[in-house]
């Protein structure tokens, strides 16, 4: 009899856990608020990088592009662009967009903030 009570008790706990997880994930899930760009889903991050590339195409301001990309995390800017480019290739972005991202990536791979001032002059 005591064994049966233990089994039922454990079963009740398992059932409760299942109900609790269902409530916490489906009924009332945790919602992100005041998020930072580095938490954006990968497709949003790729589009963000594409925007930076579009701006860079016109303004040719590598320092500005680096500042904009810095919001996506502490990884090197060229790495962020290359990750976005890899996603863009898989997702079938338009060739023109891929070219923009590739050009930005190539620029940033050799970009040296120490030379920025002299490059601008």
């Amino acid at each position: 009899m005591n064994m049966l009570r233990y089994v039922l008790f454990v079963f009740a706990i398992i059932l409760g856990v299942a109900l609790g997880v269902f409530y916490g994930r489906e009924v009332n899930p945790v919602e992100l608020v005041d998020a930072s760009p580095d938490t954006l889903r990968v497709d949003y991050q790729a589009d963000y990088v594409l925007m930076v590339a579009e701006v860079y195409e016109t303004e040719k301001d590598a320092a500005l592009a680096v500042r904009q990309l810095a919001l996506l995390g502490s990884a090197p800017p060229a790495e962020l662009v290359n990750e976005a480019l890899a996603f863009a290739l898989d997702a079938g972005y338009q060739p023109d967009d891929l070219v923009l991202m590739r050009d930005l990536g190539e620029t940033l791979s050799t970009w040296d903030p120490g030379l920025e001032g002299s490059a601008d002059e």
Binding site: R5, L8, F9, V10, F11, A12, I13, I14, L15, G16, V17, A18, L19, G20, V21, F22, Y23, G24, R25, P29, V30, E31, L32, V33, D34, A35, S36, P37, T39, L40, R41, V42, Y44, D47, Y48, L50, M51, V52, E54, V55, E57, T58, E59, Q68, L71
Partner: protein
């Protein structure tokens, strides 16, 4: 001890304990995809940065559909208004003129595209500068639309309504680089509902299309400020206004070039309220 007619207490205890553990697990051990945020949940300052990037990218690619799709991700109720407000706030920051211009232009184009309309101007006779006098009539109707309010000129005659809304393709007018703007005409608008009085500026290119993003420097004794066309797209892409203090005398100059216009000071209308100056500039 146990009552066969009631559920055993230990079962209820186990169930409650399990629910508590399950909820804690669900909320504290956050799954990876919960960190995959959308732009709509970004912090406000990050949203501003995102919005600015959208506007700058729009200036680069001129793809309004893409810009609108991106703005939709931010979940703004009125994207054009958010852009215009941010442009206005950005103006006050150092080195942010380009960002403000991009935000203002995108706001104007979104508004223009939504309405499928742009403002066209039909100029009446060009008045001689310096002969504008206090008006003799005070129509003051439809104050919400500067272009629709009546005007009085030196002759005291109510002119033909100057602005007409005409549906047309949403082209993207831009000022011809280097060509200066010149004052075509100006008038004192007596509209009791425009309070405090304003200096309203309409800027058009050589083809008569309104031009957004034109900076206007306004100076007065002891002060200087700057405002930009296109931040209130509901009044036209080439429209900008500045609230004036009647006691001061203002000089305005368009950043696209041209002669400054000075002596813009408060002028009282017949009803005892201050009139609003309206100036039309066009590119040579």
């Amino acid at each position: 001890m146990s009552n066969p007619g009631r559920a055993p207490l230990y079962l209820l205890t186990g169930l409650i304990l399990g629910i508590v553990l399950g909820v804690l697990y669900a909320w504290l051990w956050i799954p990876v995809d919960a960190f995959e945020a959308s732009p709509a949940v970004l912090r406000d300052d990050f949203k501003d940065a995102y919005r600015e990037l959208i506007a700058r990218a729009y200036i680069s690619n001129s793809d309004l559909g893409r810009a609108e799709s991106r703005l939709a991700l931010l979940g703004d109720a009125d994207p054009a208004r958010e852009l215009a407000v941010q442009a206005q706030l950005t103006l006050g920051q150092d080195g942010a003129a380009e960002a403000a211009r991009a935000l203002g232009i995108l706001a104007a184009h979104i508004k223009g595209g939504q309405d499928s309309a742009a403002i066209e101007i039909a100029y009446p006779e060009t008045p001689t500068p310096g002969n504008v006098q206090a008006p003799t009539s005070t129509p003051g109707q439809n104050s919400s639309n500067p272009g629709g309010s009546n005007e009085t000129t030196s002759a005291g005659v109510t002119p033909t309504p100057r602005f007409t809304i005409t549906p047309q393709a949403s082209a993207t007018p831009t000022a011809t680089q280097g060509a200066p703007f010149s004052l075509v005409d100006y008038a004192l608008v007596c509209d009791e509902d425009i309070s405090p009085p304003q200096i309203q500026v309409f800027v058009f290119d050589a083809s008569g299309n309104p031009v957004p993003g034109v900076g206007i420097v306004i100076t007065w004794d002891g002060g200087v400020n700057r405002f930009v066309t296109g931040l209130k797209p509901e009044f036209g892409l080439g429209y900008a206004d500045y609230e004036m203090q009647p006691a001061l005398s203002y000089t305005i100059r368009l950043e696209g070039g041209g002669d400054p216009v000075d002596g813009l000071t408060g002028r009282e209308c017949e009803g005892g309220y201050w009139g609003t100056w309206r100036l039309n500039f066009t590119q040579s």
